[in-house]
């Protein structure tokens, strides 16, 4: 009787079914709908009429600037977030007294308990004329303009995305084998050299995960440019909001969204391959 094996297969199928159906309905189907819409035409009063045309894709250069802005500010925002997050994660994982660790970690999460919109809105007042620029005037620096500039958008990005970067790095530093650091010390390595040759390479997986989380979310960002950029910094996310909610040009919006998904797939798969090569290389080194 082969029932043992077939029973096992049915069990596997049964256990996978709920998540597969969920995946199909919540992820695959909406993407298919978006792809179908992108070949349609805009109805005269807005919305979608069925058709098969490449017109929407031919029109993509009309949003070139938005793609450029996103593809410049998303990597820049990711790198800056990494630079700010690393020392914080390092402190939390390595330096912080262990009885404070949990409390400090909770402090990093606390901002998530308030609405993203409200936290971003609060920065209007910090960066606005009566905020930081007024403080700078006290020390003699006049005429600084922060709110509604690309700088304000980058500040907002670093603030909002910081926890997403801190946690993966924290986890990889936390797992770090302290004996390696002692060994380096015993062999006469300076603290700086120990950091460069041991700590930093071993935290690459955490940095890679954090960067990917932040970068992917940043590519779809629209709230921070709208609120802290005063609507003058135009991301793909903002173009999509306008196309779907204001001008109700769904087919063109769908074409822009599909293009964004394709760009993301290309970037993320190159990135993954690169990261896998880096970690494979590292294992070679450690075996040697």
């Amino acid at each position: 009787m082969a029932t043992e094996a077939s029973k096992g297969r049915w069990l596997t199928a049964g256990l996978l079914a709920p998540s597969s159906i969920w995946f199909l309905i919540m992820l695959v189907m909406p993407l298919v709908v978006v792809a179908i819409f992108s070949f349609g035409e805009r109805a005269p009063a807005g919305g979608y009429t069925a058709s098969f045309t490449f017109e929407q894709y031919a029109n993509l250069p009309a949003r070139l600037k938005a793609f450029q802005n996103t593809l410049t500010l998303a990597p820049l925002g990711t790198v800056l977030t990494l630079l700010v997050a690393y020392p914080l994660a390092y402190y939390l994982a390595v330096k912080a007294p262990s009885r404070w660790k949990l409390a400090l970690l909770v402090l990093v999460i606390v901002p998530f308990w308030t609405s993203l919109l409200i936290r971003t809105y609060a920065w209007i007042f910090i960066l606005g004329g009566r905020g930081i620029p007024t403080l700078l005037e006290f020390i003699g620096i006049e005429g600084v303009r922060l709110i509604n500039t690309p700088t304000a958008v980058v500040i907002g990005i670093v603030y909002i995305y910081l926890p997403l970067m801190v946690f993966p790095i924290f986890v990889s530093l936390e797992k770090l084998d302290k004996r390696l650091l002692e060994a380096s010390n015993d062999l006469g390595g300076s603290p700086f050299r120990t950091f460069l040759q041991i700590t930093l390479p071993l935290s690459i997986p955490g940095m890679a995960t954090g960067c990917m989380l932040v970068f992917i979310l940043l590519m779809g960002e629209f709230l921070i440019p709208a609120i802290l950029g005063g609507g003058k910094v135009f991301f793909i996310g903002n173009a999509l909001v306008d196309l779907f909610l204001q001008s109700r040009n769904w087919p063109f919006g769908a074409a822009v969204a599909t293009t964004l998904v394709i760009i993301m797939l290309v970037i993320v798969s190159i990135y993954m391959r690169l990261m896998m090569r880096v970690s494979a290389h590292r294992e070679d080194v450690s075996i040697m």
């Binding site: 009063a45 949003r63 600037k65 606005g128 303009r145 005063g230 609507g231 903002n238 204001q246």
Partner: protein, 389 residues
């Protein structure tokens, strides 16, 4: 035994009604309301439970009104006390839905089976609603409080399509320029001034709306063209003005109040409701219409084609048209009613306020936004080029 059954309730009756009013106003979401009150059940349960809870049913002269009515409107655009009074007088419980835009309302009605009895469309939507057969003509004989002679024909006009009347006037307003008199040496009087000041004295301190109708409309008016122009050559000139002005702008945003209040922004395109609130708190922020034109709008009470509670719908609209009731509405939302009988009841500092009631000669240049202007894809693309420039 001092413990009362009330101690175990998740919320007191008074607090419940407060939360219920906030929810009806659209100030809080349904999820918040259901969470806070501990109801956690569907709206249907609430709708069924409230008529009995709020009032004993009374007979009404206008025949059988039923016990419920569904009213779709904009957030903070009605007086909760009036809603309560109607329910008390008639036994009809009102369920209120609030929406963020006409486009959203249209999408809901197009999808069908809304169950709405009364809704509040804006001037430019009537052609679309009639074209799509989503709205019914009104039998004015069932609205004794409606008096066309006390209304300016210009405000009520857009609800008439093909000779039939599909809505009665609720409120009207206009779009002009709010500016800080402490910051600018010369007051703007036209949209041409608006852009000249933006690129001159006011550089870095001007806001335009993140809305193609008003922002492109303003640039068109500055060139002496129609606010509603769809002419490619005229739109090209408006685009040049907007793109030239962009480096001098403080923001492209419809959320004008925080920056005007903080003093970061000195001048902005403004709907007169925003202008009135700013002026009330900061008298130095004045408001003017452009001598070269601009937008006027009006909102209406109307009845969808498939309204399930028609008797209640007429009774409710007629109730809302009562001048005393209208005064209550005005005190809550601050938009002009457009009814001479109501204006006569307002205190003189209100009825003579130029932000609500501008001089006739300024009004004559204003235009209603047209459906074709709003749905014009060329104007949408123009705005996208302006925003990404």
């Amino acid at each position: 035994m001092s413990k009362s059954y009330k101690d175990d309730l998740p919320i007191t009756a008074k607090k419940f009604m407060e939360e219920f009013r906030r929810y009806q106003n659209g100030s809080v979401s349904r999820r918040h309301f259901l969470g806070v009150t501990g109801l956690g059940t569907a709206m249907a349960v609430l709708g069924g439970a409230v008529p009995g809870a709020l009032s004993s049913r009374k007979a009404h002269a206008a025949g059988d009104l039923g016990d419920r009515l569904v009213f779709s409107t904009w957030p903070n655009y009605f007086d909760p006390a009036n809603i309560e009074k109607f329910t008390k007088d008639t036994g009809v419980a009102i369920q209120i839905n609030t929406f963020g835009s006409n486009e959203e309302m249209l999408a809901k009605l197009q999808a069908g089976a809304t169950g709405w009895d009364v809704f509040v469309p804006t001037n430019y939507t009537f052609e679309t609603y009639v074209g799509e057969d989503l709205i019914q003509p009104l039998d004015l004989s069932r609205l004794p409080n409606h008096d066309p002679n006390s209304q300016e024909a210009i405000f009520a006009g857009p609800a008439t399509v093909n000779g039939k009347i599909y809505g009665v006037l609720k409120n009207w307003g206009h779009t002009g320029i709010s500016y800080n008199t402490d910051k600018l040496s010369k007051a703007p009087t036209s949209w041409k001034d608006f852009f000249d000041i933006t690129m001159g004295e006011g550089s870095g301190h001007t806001i335009v709306h993140d809305y193609q109708l008003t922002t492109i409309g303003a640039a068109l008016c500055a060139h002496g063209f129609s606010f509603n122009s769809n002419d490619p050559a005229e739109l090209a000139q408006a685009e040049k003005t907007l793109i030239d002005a962009k480096p001098h702008l403080f923001a492209i945003s419809s959320d004008i109040q925080p920056s005007m209040r903080s003093g970061d922004a000195w001048m902005t395109i403004a709907w007169n409701g925003d202008a009135l609130q700013l002026n009330k708190d900061m008298p130095e922020i004045a408001y003017t219409l452009g001598t070269d034109g601009g937008e006027i709008w009006s909102d209406f009470y109307a009845i969808p084609k498939e309204a399930p509670h028609l008797n209640a719908a007429y009774a409710f609209i007629d109730f809302m048209l009562d001048p005393q009731v209208q005064v209550g509405e005005f005190n809550v939302h601050g938009y002009a009613i457009g009814d001479a009988r109501v204006d006569a009841l307002l205190p003189s500092d209100v009825s003579e306020n130029p932000i609500l009631f501008p001089a006739k000669e300024l009004m004559s240049g204003l235009e209603f936004g047209a459906a074709s202007t709003l749905t014009n894809p060329d104007r949408a693309e123009l705005l996208a080029r302006f925003k990404s420039a």
